[in-house]
């Protein structure tokens, strides 16, 4: 099968371009459908890995500490992310606890872990064990990670309850905010560059159409 490492195709409209794309202000847009094809200034694997580890640490803290605390007439109660997802498992609404836990806890965690796994190998120019599978899983997980939605949800819940009782923000919510910012940097970026690293580097001999 003939491969064309020097070509790229827009995923939204099938337009074909030759690499490297001319960058206009660090970004290349598709001429047909205006989709953002690629962005300049790629992070090196080292920096990318460092941010991924930081996101992982922050996300672990977000999961271990309460995100909100409530005080009502002297009684105190607090909740972590896990307890919040688990709280949905009541009455007829039980099944919705599963996607809630997946989207705000398990998917982001898996994403950080698998990305760290791949990056820790690619920074030394190697292909991680299970690389192909991990990359497939990462591309499936990507749309289902909702840390930022979870964070906004917690803040709205805090405002909603603040009329009823005293609400104190817990340590977990700050960690969650930090991990959200870091995750936006590490997981929303273009994973395809990882295929080009190490032994997956582009072949230098351009194939002819």
């Amino acid at each position: 099968m003939k491969v064309f490492p020097d070509l790229m195709i827009c995923e939204c409209c099938d337009s074909v371009y030759r690499r490297p794309m001319p960058m206009d202000g660090g970004v290349a847009h598709c001429e047909r459908c205006a989709f953002e094809l690629c962005r300049g200034g790629r992070l090196r694997a080292d920096g990318w890995l460092a941010l991924t580890i930081a996101a992982g640490v922050m996300f672990l803290m977000a999961n271990s500490y309460p995100v909100l605390q409530i005080n009502l007439q002297g009684i105190r109660n607090e909740t972590t992310l896990w307890q919040s997802a688990g709280a949905l498992a009541q009455g007829l609404a039980v099944p919705i606890a599963v996607p809630a836990a997946l989207f705000i806890i398990l998917v982001p965690f898996l994403q950080i872990f698998l990305l760290g796994w791949v990056l820790s190998y690619s920074r030394v120019g190697r292909r991680a064990p299970g690389f192909v599978y991990v990359m497939h899983i990462l591309s499936i997980l990507r749309p289902w990670s909702m840390v930022e939605v979870g964070l906004l949800g917690i803040l709205i819940a805090a405002i909603k309850l603040s009329k009823l009782a005293d609400i104190v923000l817990g340590a977990g919510i700050w960690a969650m905010a930090a991990s959200m910012i870091l995750m936006t940097i590490v997981s929303k970026r273009d994973l395809s560059s990882l295929w080009d690293m190490g032994e997956y580097s582009r072949q230098r001999t351009p194939a002819r159409a």
Binding site: C13, L68, Q90, L92, H136, L152, I156, K160, Y200
Partner: protein
């Protein structure tokens, strides 16, 4: 005017959606092929894109009715219990003067799902009719609903946190109600619907 770049189909090449590699499949163009680099199954267009998108979309629209009619949570305060729907949540924020938050919830829970229904249906119908109308705008609309769709999960997570916090026995309790299950399912269905749609279909007829 500058001429537009060629399309993959005209050149007989294809792109792997997992690893981005461009290659020339040896099999017939309408058959699925395996990517030589990552072994993903690659199709020229997503298989049954239109039918699958319709299926998820219609299922979502149907479930959107119970999601709005049935209560999403039950609040009991000092023995007085009331059930509230999604709209009640928006209205109560609005009435208490929190206009900004009422607006955020309105956009996430009502405006975005409805916009997704309308936009996906428009895309499906225009693609079926091989329409060449407003292609660039339709491509942009598609990408917009793909990006903002998951924010609709907001209400589910608000209910989760509120329910987890307010557990004060006789004094005050909040419980989830079945409406939130329908609503969460609608959001997942609309996301699946948007993912099933192949935006390349918008450009598939002669320019």
């Amino acid at each position: 005017m500058k001429s537009l770049p060629p399309r993959a189909e005209q050149l007989g090449i294809i792109r792997c959606h997992i690893c981005d590699l461009v290659f020339q499949p040896t099999a017939k163009p309408d058959k699925a092929v395996r990517c030589p680099r990552c072994e993903a199954t690659v199709h020229r267009r997503l298989p049954n894109s239109i039918v699958r998108t319709w299926a998820f979309l219609i299922a979502g629209v149907i479930l959107y009715i119970p999601a709005n009619v049935l209560p999403i949570m039950y609040t009991s305060f000092l023995g007085n219990g009331i059930e509230s729907t999604i709209t009640d949540g928006v209205v109560s924020f609005w009435n208490s003067g929190s206009y900004g938050i009422a607006l955020v919830i309105f956009i996430a829970s009502i405006a975005v799902p409805c916009a997704k229904f309308l936009i996906l249906a428009t895309l499906l119908i225009t693609v079926r009719k091989h329409s060449r109308w407003a292609r660039l705008e339709r491509a942009r609309l598609y990408r917009m609903i793909e990006h903002i769709g998951y924010w609709s999960m907001l209400d589910v997570l608000v209910v989760a946190v509120v329910v987890a916090l307010v557990k004060f026995r006789e004094l005050a309790t909040i419980e989830p109600r079945v409406g939130i299950l329908f609503f969460g399912t609608v959001v997942i269905l609309t996301m699946l619907s948007a993912m099933s749609f192949d935006p390349r279909l918008i450009w598939d007829d002669k320019e």
